[in-house]
Assembly symmetry: C2
Homo-oligomer: 183 residues x 2
């Protein structure tokens, strides 16, 4: 079955302080036309930072769109022309103070394929060294570590319910299982 949609034209229809939205006209597989609106995003990284004794570095952060705090793995947007792993090292350092000796790309996932072009690149960081964090102005978050078994339990019960973090845990577990480690 032919599923592709062909772009016929389009324009940016909203440019805010943070968000940009485009609307394109497309030709559907049956030849009819439709509109597609979507948010532009620069892409992001997320970091599974694992201590030598099997603890995961986590954050608690208030997320305004949902008016509540979430437990999350460290993450952040990619700066223009920044290599993905450089973003991962920078965000881990800025948000948590940790630097890491060993970095592995676990995979890339797409959080919101219906209306955003965002991609999130997941890294495993090990060989952690604690240091001073350097939060951006206006950034407030708590940092803590928990044993991986506890984190898995919290993900199973829904206490951890940020999709970015759940995907990271899925890929971390797959990676550790492949390596014959249980975390």
């Amino acid at each position: 079955m032919q599923l592709d949609e062909q772009r016929l034209g389009g324009a940016e229809v909203f440019r805010g302080r943070f968000l940009r939205v485009s609307r394109d006209e497309v030709r559907l597989p049956d030849g009819t036309h439709a509109s597609r609106e979507y948010v532009h995003h620069p892409g992001a990284v997320a970091v599974l930072a694992l201590t030598g004794d099997g603890q995961l570095v986590l954050e608690c952060q208030y997320r305004y769109p949902l008016s509540r705090t979430f437990i999350e793995i460290p993450a952040g947007k990619i700066d223009p022309d920044e290599a993905h792993e450089a973003t991962a090292r920078r965000e881990l350092m800025e948000e948590t103070g940790y630097s890491a000796a060993r970095w592995v790309l676990l995979g890339t996932a797409y959080p919101c394929i219906g209306y955003s072009d965002e991609a999130i690149h997941y890294y495993l960081a090990e060989g952690l060294v604690a240091g001073e964090r350097a939060l951006d102005d206006g950034e407030f978050l708590e940092v803590f570590t928990l044993p991986l078994a506890t984190v898995r339990q919290m993900a199973g019960t829904g206490e951890i319910c940020d999709s970015k973090t759940l995907v990271g845990l899925y890929w971390l577990d797959a990676h550790l299982a492949k390596d014959g480690r249980d975390g």
Copy 2:
């Protein structure tokens, strides 16, 4: 640590054909002010539909914001005043033709906490009966089933990289493990 942000005011700054964006002014924990822009979403459901012989119902769909097809679990937006499980039953039927005898809510996850208020409610559907699907106008997707072991392998390698689907697999595995089933 106090992490909450207090809303000071705000307005809808974009209303497109599908997307709505609000911008609010907020007071941060240190008393300074900031802007928050975010997309409004009615919420969605996603369905882990498992056949009697351990196969998962999947779809392949073109996603315009990323100009490619994705392998996904069935999902769809909640209609106004529609109960979540009713949405799940409706979307599974419309997109795949399957109805299901047994429904279990696995959990609720938030795909895009930085800039959208979307929530996705995950359901396990079992006791499947095949029937005729009834796609919306302009909706094109392929439906197929794969053994859960194959699906897990594709999620581990990144062949499945839609975050909604990866979160669903994580919670499905947690549920089956709790029940002492391996799928």
